[in-house]
C-alpha cells in the first residue's frame, strides 16, 4: 500500500514537473504597459477603457492576435509627472515595448514623446493632442480614438446642419478647452453670441447661466468633461434654459454615464459621436453584448476605444507573431489597421490618426423600456481626418 502510494506520488510529481517544463517552453506572455487614469473624478473614463481593452483579450482567452499577453496597469492619478514616472519604470525596469492607456492629453504630452523616441510603440485609446498630430507626429505613435479637435468640429457641423444661427460656447479655461472652442468654430459659421470660460474646479454655474440667458441665443455648445458637464447640465435645465435653446454636444458630454447621472435633464440633447451603442456593425453588436454580459453596465465610447485599441494591437501582433522587435514589420502591420472596428470603416491618415465617420445622435426615451437612450440619427461627417496631418512628415 505504502509503495503504491509512493509510486503514485512520484508519478504525480513527474507529471507535474513535465507539465511545468512544457509550460516553461512557452514564451513568457508579452507585457503591455497600460498607464491610465483610474482615480480622481475622471477615474471612470480609464476604468471603461481598461475594461474594453481586457474584453478583447478575454475573447481570445488571454491572447491578442494569437499571442499570449499580460496587461500591466498603473494609475497616473491625472498627474503628468506620475505618468512619466510609471512610463520610465515600465520601459527601463520591466523592459516593456508596447504601451497604451492614457486618457488625458496633459499626461500624454508628458509621457508619449519620450516613449516613442526610445523606440517603444504607443497606441492611444483616447488622448489625441494636436502637438503630436502635426510636426510632432511619430512613426511609433498611433491614435485609435480621434484627434482632439475632431469631436468639436463634428459638433460644429451638426449645429450648422440643425440650422442654428446664434450659439453660446462654454469651456474650461485651459488648453484643451480652448482647442475645443477653436474646433467648434472651424465648422460652425453662425454667430457666437458669448464665449464663456469657466474654472476647472467650478461647481456652481448660476452666474454663467444668467449671462447665457441674457445672450438670447438659439443654441449652446459646451465642452465640460465628466462631472463638470453633469453639474452644468443639471443647473442649465433647472434654470429652464433647455426650453429655449438647443443643446449640441461632443461625445464627452453625451455618453451613458452622463445620461444616467443627469436623469431627465438629458432628454432631447443633440450630440455627435464616432461610436454609438446602436451602430449596426457585427463587431459592435458583439462588443456591446459581451461588455454588458461581463461588466453589467452600459459601454461608453471610452470602452469601445479600449476594445478597438486591443483589436488593432492584435492585428499587429499576429503579423509578427508576437515579436515586436521586428519594429518595421510590426509598424507596417499596424498602419494597415486590418481589424474590424466597433465604429465601422476605420483607417489611418498620414499622421497615424484615424480617418473615420462621425455620427449625429439624440437622447430620446425608448418606447419599450421608458429609459433615456442615446440614439444615432445619421452621419454628420464621412471619412473625416484632421487638419494637422498635412504638417506631419513620416
Amino acid at each position: 500500500m505504502r509503495i503504491v502510494a509512493r509510486a503514485s506520488l512520484a508519478a504525480l510529481l513527474t507529471l507535474s514537473m513535465a507539465g511545468s517544463s512544457a509550460f516553461a517552453a512557452d514564451p513568457a506572455p508579452l507585457k503591455i504597459g497600460m498607464i491610465t487614469t483610474l482615480s480622481t473624478a475622471g477615474g471612470y473614463l480609464g476604468e471603461d477603457m481598461r475594461d474594453g481593452f481586457q474584453l478583447a483579450i478575454d475573447e481570445e482567452h488571454g491572447k491578442l492576435g494569437g499571442v499570449p499577453v499580460q496587461v500591466v496597469v498603473e494609475d497616473d492619478g491625472l498627474k503628468p509627472a506620475n505618468g512619466k514616472l510609471i512610463a520610465d519604470k515600465f520601459r527601463i525596469q520591466d523592459k516593456i515595448d508596447v504601451f497604451t492607456g492614457i486618457i488625458y492629453s496633459n499626461v500624454a504630452l508628458a509621457v508619449v514623446p519620450g516613449l516613442v523616441e526610445s523606440g517603444a510603440f504607443y497606441l492611444s485609446p483616447n488622448a489625441g493632442p494636436s502637438q503630436l498630430a502635426g510636426k510632432g507626429c511619430n512613426k511609433n505613435f498611433f491614435v485609435v480614438s480621434w484627434q482632439n479637435d475632431t469631436p468639436h468640429e463634428a459638433t460644429g457641423q451638426y449645429a450648422q446642419y440643425l440650422g442654428l444661427k446664434k450659439m453660446v460656447v462654454v469651456a474650461p479655461n485651459y488648453t484643451t478647452g480652448k482647442d475645443a472652442v477653436a474646433g467648434f468654430k472651424r465648422t460652425f459659421h453662425g454667430e457666437i453670441a458669448e464665449e464663456i470660460y469657466t474654472a476647472l474646479d467650478q461647481t456652481d454655474y448660476s452666474a454663467e447661466l444668467a449671462r447665457i440667458r441674457a445672450a438670447n441665443a438659439d443654441g449652446i455648445f459646451y465642452f465640460l468633461p465628466g462631472g463638470l458637464g453633469i453639474n452644468f447640465l443639471k443647473q442649465f435645465t433647472q434654470a429652464g434654459l433647455k426650453k429655449t435653446m438647443k443643446v449640441v454636444l461632443p461625445e464627452f458630454s453625451l455618453e451613458s454615464h452622463v445620461v444616467a447621472a443627469v436623469g431627465n435633464a438629458a432628454e432631447g440633447l443633440y450630440g455627435t459621436a464616432h461610436w454609438l451603442k446602436d451602430l449596426p456593425y457585427a463587431a459592435n453588436k458583439k462588443f456591446v453584448s459581451e461588455f454588458i454580459k461581463k461588466y453589467h453596465r452600459e459601454p461608453t465610447p471610452y470602452a469601445s476605444q479600449g476594445y478597438d485599441t486591443a483589436k488593432l494591437l492584435a492585428s499587429g501582433l499576429r503579423a509578427v507573431n508576437g515579436d515586436v522587435s521586428k519594429a518595421d514589420a510590426f509598424r507596417a502591420a499596424l498602419r494597415k489597421a486590418d481589424f474590424q472596428s466597433t465604429r465601422g470603416a476605420f483607417k489611418f491618415g498620414p499622421n497615424q490618426f484615424p480617418i473615420q465617420d462621425w455620427y449625429s445622435a439624440r437622447v430620446v426615451r425608448d418606447a419599450k423600456t421608458g429609459k433615456l437612450v442615446i440614439r444615432g440619427v445619421g452621419k454628420i461627417m464621412a471619412q473625416a481626418g484632421d487638419v494637422y496631418s498635412n504638417a506631419c512628415k513620416l
Binding site: Y197, A214, Q238, A239
Partner: protein, 304 residues
C-alpha cells in the same frame, strides 16, 4: 437691472451653499483647534447617501435626513477613532491625518458606489423655474437659500441662547477654565464634531440634485470653504456666514461681470479667456485684501 438682481441672488445662493459647509468647518476649528481636511469627504458621504436613498424611491425629505444622519454617524466615528488623538498634536499632523481620511473616503466611496456619478432628481414640486419680477429663477435654488438661512438662524439660536451653545463659546476661548469647571470637554468635542458633520452632510444632500454626485466632489468645494472661514475669522459662526456670503457674491459677480467689463478694452479672444482667469482669482484677491485690513478675519474670536 433685473440681470444684476439675478446675479446678486445667484451670489447669495452660492454663498449660502458655502456657508453650510463653512459653519461645520469653523466650529471644529474654532472649538477644537483641529484643521479637518476630511470635512469635504463627510459632505460627499451626505450626498451619496441622500442620492442612494432617493434612488430607492424614498421622499426627498427622507433622503436629506438620511444623508445628514449618515454624515453625523461618520463624524462621531471619525472623532472617536482619529481626531481625538490629534488635539494635542501640531496642525501639520492634523493635516496629514485628515488628508489620509480624504484618500480613504474617496476609495471607500468608489468601492461601494463605483466611479460613475450618481443622479438625484430635484423633487417634482420644486423642479420648475419660477418668474421673479423680470427674471426666471429655478425654484429649487430659492429653497436652498431658504434652507441655508433657516439653518444659519437655528445655529445662531443654538450658539447664543442655549447651554450647549454657551459651552461651545466658552470652550472656544477658555478651554482649560471650562474643563476645570467640571465640563466633560471630550464629550463636548464629540458633540461639536458630530454637529459639524451633520451640517456638512446636510449641505451634500441638499446640493446633490444640482451637482454631480461623484468621488472627489468634496475637495472641489473645500477650498472655497476655507477661503470663506479665513475671511470671516476662524471659529466664528457669524464670521463664517459673512465670509461665505462675501465669497459667494464676489465669485459670482466676478464670473458675471469681469468678462463683460474687459470686452470693450481687450480683443475678444483675450477678453474671454482673461476674464475667465481673473474671475477665478477674484475671491483670493478678496481674501488678501481682508487679511491685510484685518489679519484675523472679519469677526475674530478667541484670546488675542
Amino acid at each position: 437691472m433685473s440681470l444684476a438682481l439675478e446675479q446678486l441672488l445667484n451670489g447669495l445662493q452660492f454663498g449660502v451653499m458655502i456657508f453650510l459647509l463653512a459653519a461645520g468647518l469653523t466650529l471644529v476649528f474654532g472649538i477644537m483647534g483641529v484643521i479637518n481636511l476630511a470635512h469635504g469627504s463627510i459632505y460627499m458621504l451626505g450626498a451619496f447617501v441622500a442620492a442612494s436613498v432617493a434612488g430607492t424611491g424614498a421622499p426627498f425629505v427622507v433622503a436629506v435626513l438620511a444623508g445628514a444622519a449618515a454624515a453625523g454617524l461618520a463624524g462621531i466615528a471619525i472623532e472617536l477613532v482619529v481626531i481625538r488623538r490629534l488635539y494635542a498634536r501640531h496642525h501639520l499632523d492634523q493635516v496629514l491625518a485628515t488628508f489620509a481620511l480624504i484618500l480613504i473616503a474617496n476609495d471607500g466611496v468608489s468601492m461601494i458606489w463605483g466611479k460613475t456619478p450618481l443622479n438625484m432628481a430635484v423633487p417634482a414640486a420644486l423642479s420648475p423655474a419660477v418668474t421673479l419680477g423680470g427674471f426666471i429663477y429655478p425654484a429649487y435654488r430659492l429653497v436652498l437659500i431658504a434652507a441655508g438661512i433657516l439653518i444659519a438662524a437655528a445655529l445662531y439660536v443654538l450658539i447664543s441662547r442655549t447651554r450647549l451653545g454657551m459651552l461651545i463659546r466658552a470652550g472656544a476661548t477658555h478651554r482649560e477654565t471650562v474643563a476645570a469647571l467640571g465640563v466633560d470637554i471630550s464629550r463636548l468635542n464629540t458633540v461639536v464634531f458630530a454637529l459639524g458633520a451633520v451640517l456638512a452632510g446636510t449641505a451634500g444632500a441638499l446640493l446633490a440634485p444640482i451637482l454631480a454626485v461623484q468621488v472627489g466632489m468634496g475637495e472641489q468645494i473645500l477650498i472655497l470653504t476655507f477661503v470663506a472661514i479665513i475671511v470671516g475669522g476662524l471659529g466664528s459662526i457669524r464670521g463664517a456666514f459673512a465670509g461665505a456670503l462675501l465669497v459667494g457674491v464676489v465669485d459670482t459677480l466676478g464670473r458675471a461681470y469681469i468678462p463683460v467689463i474687459l470686452k470693450p478694452i481687450a480683443k475678444p479672444e483675450i477678453a474671454d479667456s482673461l476674464g475667465g482667469g481673473l474671475s477665478a482669482v477674484a475671491i483670493y484677491v478678496l481674501m488678501a485684501i481682508v487679511l491685510v485690513w484685518k489679519p484675523r478675519g472679519l469677526f475674530p474670536v478667541g484670546p488675542r
